[in-house]
Amino acid sequence: MGRPTRVAAASLALLMSWVAEAGVPEILLVIRDHLFFPSTLEIPAGVKVRIVIDNQDSTPEEFESYPLNREKVISGNSRTVVFIGPLPPGEYPFFGEFYPKTAQGKVVVR
């Protein structure tokens, strides 16, 4: 484990604890080979959620969802945050705008 990775992990842990304090649940969404992992995110209804998007590809990607009204560029090999909700139950598809044929996923609110 290299030093930068350790620092990143440590700061992420710090961030997560801060978020946990604020009471916002957090979900990790990974982009790898222009695919979303997991491709289905399940979140509870009526709760604001913080999605941490980790782009492990070297190319930038844009997280986009029309039903969620979200649009955000994630540079290559970096991570960022998108807030969604609170939402009523339903399915909210999202996709990577730069590779929409493969980078597809949905948020399922129960």
Partner: protein, 271 residues
């Protein structure tokens, strides 16, 4: 990749092309109306476009850094800030273009500078996504040719729409052209405000609220018509209350300028 590339790039180009052609036509029609000094030269526009393209490249290049600002929502906040600056400059520009003012020269300079800012920022905002997209696909596994082809088609459609709108506005009578042009500018300001608010909601700076209505069954945003309406009037299938109210607020701000009143309200009364 082809259609996706067309839609993505069209979304960016249309907005800039329509704004540019409306501003060009309005200024030309106003210039024809009063003095030569009022007519803003082509040099202003060329400078604005160059600034915008350079700005877009720089913005795309600095995107990783910017994203990290304000607890990882720097991207949203910076974009929203740009939108608000665009609205402010558009407002000042319209104010400076009104009839009768004390200092012709100063006003002309001010109108030119605000014009440059509006166009340059709009192009920076839209163009940076194109730069990012092209960088995104060029390092990817597939379909670079079809994506570039799509970019060309999007350019063709966007620029053609802009040209037709420009010629359309010029072929109208001066009165009608100014009415339509100013109305489009106020819609553009509303569009900018709604987008900015949307970005701030995404950044969690403004609390989320449920959509007021859902018209995605009637018209999807992710279609050519949807993109055209999005670029022209900021069509959104599921807007929230705060988006709608900020849209109307920015529209009213532009509509409150003497220039707008002169060509819309007073014109209507005397007509």
């Amino acid at each position: 990749m082809f259609l996706d590339s067309v839609l993505l790039i069209l979304q960016e180009i249309l907005e800039a092309a329509l704004l540019l052609s409306v501003l060009l036509a309005v200024n030309l029609q106003l210039g024809a109306q009063v003095s030569e000094a009022r007519q803003l030269g082509g040099l202003w526009y060329a400078a604005a476009i160059c600034c915008g393209i350079l700005g877009a490249a720089a913005f795309a290049w600095a995107m990783p850094t910017i994203t990290g600002w304000f607890n990882d929502v720097g991207q949203e906040v910076t974009n929203a800030g740009m939108h608000f600056v665009i609205i402010a400059c558009l407002y000042v520009h319209c104010r400076l273009l009104r009839k009768k003012a004390d200092s012709e020269r100063m006003r002309s300079l001010g109108a030119g500078l605000t014009l440059i800012t509006v166009i340059a920022l709009a192009i920076t905002r839209e163009g940076s996504e194109i730069f990012l997209y092209l960088r995104g696909i060029s390092g990817g596994p597939s379909g670079v040719t079809s994506a570039v082809l799509g970019a060309g088609v999007a350019c063709g459609i966007g620029v053609s729409t802009g040209i037709l709108l420009y010629f359309g506005l010029l072929s109208l009578s001066r009165r009608a052209a100014l009415r339509v042009g100013l109305a489009l500018l106020s819609l553009f300001a509303g569009n900018m405000a709604a987008q900015a608010v949307q970005l701030l909601i995404q950044a969690d700076w403004i609390p989320y609220s449920a959509p007021l209505w859902d018209t995605s069954g009637v018209l999807q945003e992710y279609t050519i018509t949807g993109q055209l309406l999005y670029a022209l009037v900021g069509y959104e299938a599921t807007p929230s209350l705060i988006q709608v109210s900020s849209y109307l607020g920015a529209m009213l701000l532009i509509a409150s300028t003497p220039l707008f009143r002169q060509h819309w309200w007073s014109g209507k009364i005397s007509a």
